[in-house]
C-alpha cells in the first residue's frame, strides 16, 4: 500500500457508485425496463479491476445491502449476489487486467447473467414467479455498454490520478 490513496479517491468512488444506483432505479417505461443495464455492477466491475486494493468484497457487500433497501427486495440477497460476483472477479483479476476490452465484455456478460439468475431465483422465494427469460437481457445490454463505461471511468480515474 505504498501508493498514495488520497481521501478524494474514496469520495469519487462513492459518488460513481451512488450515480450508478440512482441510474439503476430511475423510472423507465415498463417495456424499456427489461433492457436496463446493470449500472451498479458495471461500475463495481471497473473499480474491482482498476483499484483492487481499495475496492473489494466489503464494498460489494454494502452496496448490495443499499441496493436491496432501494428496490425493496429481501434484505441480504443483493449483498449475497454482488459479493459472489465480486469474488469471482477477484479470482479472475490477474487475467481480466490484461484482457482486451471485448473479452472483458464477455466476462461481464456472464457475471451480470449470474447476478440476474441469482436475483430472480431468490425472488421465487417470496412468490414472484418469472415465466420469461427476458430478465437475462440486461446481461447483453451491460456487456454492450461496458467499453463506453470503461473508457469514461478510466479517463476519470487517470485524470484524478486515482488508484
Amino acid at each position: 500500500m505504498s501508493e498514495q490513496t488520497s481521501g478524494g479517491g474514496f469520495f469519487v468512488t462513492l459518488a460513481t457508485f451512488l450515480i450508478a444506483i440512482t441510474l439503476s432505479q430511475f423510472p423507465l417505461n415498463s417495456s424499456l425496463q427489461w433492457f436496463r443495464p446493470d449500472f451498479l455492477l458495471l461500475v463495481l466491475f471497473f473499480w474491482l479491476i482498476w483499484a483492487p486494493n481499495r475496492v473489494g468484497l466489503l464494498y460489494a457487500f454494502f452496496l448490495g445491502l443499499l441496493l436491496d433497501l432501494m428496490r425493496g427486495s429481501v434484505l441480504g440477497l443483493g449483498a449475497f449476489s454482488l459479493t459472489l460476483v465480486a469474488f469471482i472477479t477477484q479470482l479472475l483479476h490477474n487475467r481480466l487486467r490484461v484482457f482486451p476490452i471485448l473479452q472483458q465484455s464477455f466476462v461481464l456478460l456472464l457475471l451480470v447473467g449470474l447476478n440476474q439468475l441469482i436475483y430472480y431465483w431468490m425472488q421465487g422465494l417470496v412468490g414472484n414467479s418469472a415465466d420469461t427469460l427476458l430478465f437475462l437481457v440486461p446481461a447483453l445490454t451491460s456487456a454492450l455498454l461496458w467499453p463506453f463505461v470503461f473508457l469514461a471511468l478510466r479517463r476519470l480515474a487517470r485524470y484524478l490520478d486515482l488508484n
Binding site: 415498463s30 466489503l58 441480504g76 449483498a79
Partner: protein, 278 residues
C-alpha cells in the same frame, strides 16, 4: 503483485454467511421487518434524488404552460366540479335513506372510512415487482397492510415501511390477490395479479358462471384487508375452453396504476376496531 495472498477467502465466506442470515431473518421474522424501517431511512435521500428529475420536469411544465391551455383546463375542471357536486347532493340523500333503511332492517351502521393523501415518489425498477414508493411513512401513521386507493379504485396495499416513506404493492403484482364480488350478480371470487401491467386474472371460475365482458368487480371486504365497495377491476375477457374445467377470465384494473401520482391511504386502525366490534 497486487494481492499478497490472493483474494481473501475468509472474508468472502464470512460475508456470504452474514448476507444469507440477514435474508433468512428478513423472510421469517416480523420483528426484523419492523426494525428494518429504520434502515430504510438510509435509502430515502437517494429515492428522493431519483424522483427529482420527474418532479422538476413537472415544475417546468407548470411554469411554461400557455394561457389558453390554462383557461381550457380551468373550464374543464369547473364543469367537472359541477357534475361532482350534483353527484354529492344525490349521494347525501341516498346515504341518509340507506341509513334509515338499515335501521329498519336492524343492521349495523356503516362507518365512513378515514383517508390520508399520499404522493408517489418512486416506481420499482424491477419489472417483476409491481411496487411504488409513496411519501408517507411510519411517522405519518402508516402501517403494513394498509390499503391504497386512487380516484378509480383500489391500487394495492402497503408492504414495507420506512419512517417517512413506504412501499405499496400494486394489485397487478403476482403476489397480490383481492377478495371481490361481481357487482351485477354478487358472485364472490378473488382477483389475482398476473405480473403483467394492466392485467388481472380470475382463477377457478366455473364455465357456467354468469360473467360478462364489462362486468365491474367491487371489493367485497372479506378478509378484512381491503375496505368494502370500492371498484377493483373490469372484466375484459371471458373464454370457455371445452377441454378445461374452468373458464379463462381476465380483467383490467380500474385504478390508473401507472398514471396516478396521488393516492389515498385508508386508515386501518378504525377498520380493525370495526371488525372487532362486529
Amino acid at each position: 503483485m497486487i494481492f499478497k495472498s490472493g483474494p481473501s477467502r475468509w472474508l468472502f465466506i464470512l460475508l456470504i454467511i452474514v448476507a444469507l442470515s440477514i435474508a433468512a431473518l428478513d423472510l421469517n421474522s416480523y420483528k426484523f421487518r419492523e426494525g428494518k424501517a429504520y434502515f430504510n431511512l438510509v435509502a430515502t435521500p437517494l429515492q428522493w434524488l431519483v424522483d427529482l428529475p420527474v418532479k422538476m420536469a413537472g415544475g417546468v411544465s407548470d411554469v411554461v404552460v400557455s394561457r389558453a391551455t390554462l383557461i381550457a383546463e380551468n373550464d374543464l375542471l369547473r364543469t367537472e366540479a359541477i357534475l361532482l357536486e350534483q353527484k354529492v347532493l344525490q349521494n347525501a340523500t341516498l346515504s341518509s335513506e340507506n341509513r334509515r333503511l338499515r335501521t329498519l332492517l336492524n343492521a349495523r351502521q356503516k362507518v365512513e372510512e378515514e383517508v390520508q393523501m399520499a404522493e408517489l415518489i418512486g416506481v420499482s425498477s424491477d419489472p417483476f415487482q409491481h411496487e411504488i414508493l409513496i411519501n408517507r411513512g411510519e411517522q405519518d401513521g402508516v402501517a403494513i397492510g394498509q390499503p391504497a386507493l386512487d380516484s378509480g379504485g383500489i391500487m394495492g396495499l402497503v408492504v414495507d415501511l420506512a419512517p417517512v416513506t413506504s412501499r405499496v404493492m400494486l394489485v397487478t403484482d403476482s403476489r397480490s390477490s383481492v377478495p371481490v364480488h361481481v357487482l351485477r350478480t354478487g358472485f364472490r371470487t378473488l382477483v389475482l395479479g398476473s405480473g403483467s401491467t394492466n392485467e388481472l386474472k380470475l382463477d377457478h371460475i366455473p364455465n357456467t358462471e354468469d360473467i360478462r365482458i364489462g362486468d365491474l368487480l367491487v371489493s367485497s371486504g372479506l378478509g378484512g384487508v381491503f375496505p368494502m365497495g370500492y371498484p377493483v377491476a373490469e372484466i375484459t375477457e371471458f373464454r370457455q375452453e371445452p377441454g378445461r374445467s374452468f373458464a379463462v377470465v381476465r380483467a383490467k384494473p380500474t385504478a390508473a396504476l401507472n398514471k396516478s401520482r396521488y393516492l389515498l391511504l385508508v386508515h386501518k386502525e378504525d377498520r380493525l376496531k370495526r371488525f372487532e366490534s362486529e
